[in-house]
């Protein structure tokens, strides 16, 4: 008689299976799920939740990605089958189509502003760190922009590789060092060698004699200019002195 209620008590002491809480939290979108995707950049681990993609990184193993995520983001993380359209969105995003939503919770307002601005840089183009700082209304915060980009939790998709130094060094890259940065930019159609040479020569802008407009070297509006109509310029002052105005698309300087 007593044995039955004791047994029932033992049944009541059963524990939920391992990972149960994280699976529940993931289902309501409070924890993140992740999967490995094959991309043009190689295998990329991508984490997502109900708000969007929350992290991406290239690692050799899932364990490494989980450790990194725990350190960088800190939310529970579960491997899961990818939502049906995510693989396609990843391909599109890397091809220059903007289809992804992001979860940037946990980042400061400044970091979010930097990343959002960075996302505006078109595929195949680059901008200086100072440009991002000026565009978000914090022109003096150039170093802070560098730090925010170095801590970008979603590289490749928020294209921090498109923000470069203007002195002929391409700049560092959290997604795998300067060489990886160059490789990705080359893949996107940027002529990295030429960019470095221009930087070393101190030539930051290209001016179009025909239109009297000056642009960043990679701005697509200047791409089809005839070589004889192109002049290379050192800085804003000399460009303006020569009668050029800043391009309204790439905004190399405040458009008056």
């Amino acid at each position: 008689m007593i044995a039955l209620t004791t047994d029932l008590k033992r049944l009541g002491a059963v524990k939920a299976p391992a990972g149960f809480a994280d699976r529940v939290l993931a289902q309501v979108g409070m924890a993140d799920s992740y999967a490995r995707f094959e991309t043009v950049l190689g295998d990329v681990f991508v984490a997502w939740n109900r708000l969007g993609v929350s992290a991406a990184a290239r690692f050799l193993s899932a364990e490494e990605f989980e450790d990194w995520f725990a350190k960088e983001v800190g939310r529970p993380l579960m491997p899961a089958p990818a939502p049906p359209d995510l693989a396609e969105k990843i391909q599109d995003e890397l091809n220059g189509k903007k289809r992804m939503r992001f979860d940037l919770r946990g980042l400061t307002a400044f970091e979010q502003a930097v990343l959002r601005k960075t996302r505006e840089i078109p595929r195949g183009e680059v901008r200086p760190y100072g440009w991002v700082a000026r565009e978000i209304g914090r022109p003096a915060a150039v170093r802070a922009v560098g730090t925010a980009l170095a801590n970008n939790p979603i590289p490749y998709f928020i294209p921090c590789h498109r923000v470069v130094r203007t002195d002929g060094h391409i700049g560092n890259y959290g997604g795998g060092g300067p060489e990886a940065k160059k490789a990705i930019l080359t893949l996107e159609g940027v002529r990295v060698k030429q960019l470095e040479e221009l930087g070393r020569a101190g030539l930051r802008y290209q001016g179009m004699r025909t239109t009297k407009i000056f642009c960043f070297p990679t701005c697509y509006t200047g791409r089809h200019a005839l070589e004889k109509n192109r002049v290379w310029l050192h800085d804003e002052a000399s460009a303006r002195a020569a009668g050029f105005r800043p391009c309204k698309v790439c905004r190399p300087a405040v458009v008056a």
Binding site: M1, L4, T5, D7, L8, K9, R10, L11, G12, A13, V14, K15, A16, P17, A18, G19, F20, A21, R23, V24, L25, Q27, V28, M30
Partner: protein, 171 residues
């Protein structure tokens, strides 16, 4: 919403074992138990999102979560839940311990199966009162039944479990 998320996260960690144990006793196998327990928390979360702060403050968490679990089980039985084909008797925690542990686990699962086979009203009462060890008042609250009814159902449920069928009520 941040408040709800935090509250919910605490609830999951605090009650996951209890709700899973109750689900196991009501469904009789660990696979269904996990589904029921997950479903319970999902419903709890969506309900919390619609509740006013006063309602959340007055919530009797334990009774409330158990009531949801009971309802999830009832709905499955009604066939609202699509029966999925079980491909791999999936039990997520193969903690292969020593033989004694395996034996105990088998005994527990076997008991869970017997409890799960009870008629619903006895099963619910027995699970909440003796598996989950809620007070009669809490069980009454969770099942929305008078305390007297609960006591009678617990009593008959235990009797059936003991194989004592002489005062069995038709069900």
């Amino acid at each position: 919403m941040e408040g709800v998320d935090q509250l919910f996260e605490r609830m999951v960690h605090e009650h996951k074992d209890r709700i899973f144990a109750a689900s196991l006793a009501m469904t009789g196998n660990r696979h269904d138990a996990e589904e029921v327990a997950q479903d319970t928390f999902l419903r709890a979360y969506h309900a919390l999102c619609t509740y006013t702060p006063e309602r959340i403050r007055e919530l009797k968490e334990r009774a409330w979560l158990h009531r949801i679990a009971v309802n999830v089980v009832r709905n499955r039985v009604r066939g609202v839940h699509p029966r999925l084909v079980e491909l791999n008797g999936s039990e997520s925690d193969h903690a292969q311990g020593p033989e004694a542990k395996v034996m105990e686990r088998m005994q527990i699962d076997e008991l869970a199966t017997r409890v799960a086979e009870l008629p619903a009203r006895y099963r619910e009462a027995v699970v909440l009162r003796h598996v989950r060890e809620l007070s009669y008042a809490e069980v009454a609250e969770a099942l929305r039944q008078p305390v007297g009814t609960v006591k009678a159902n617990v009593h008959r449920g235990l009797k059936l479990l003991r194989g004592d069928t002489d005062d069995r009520v038709d069900d």
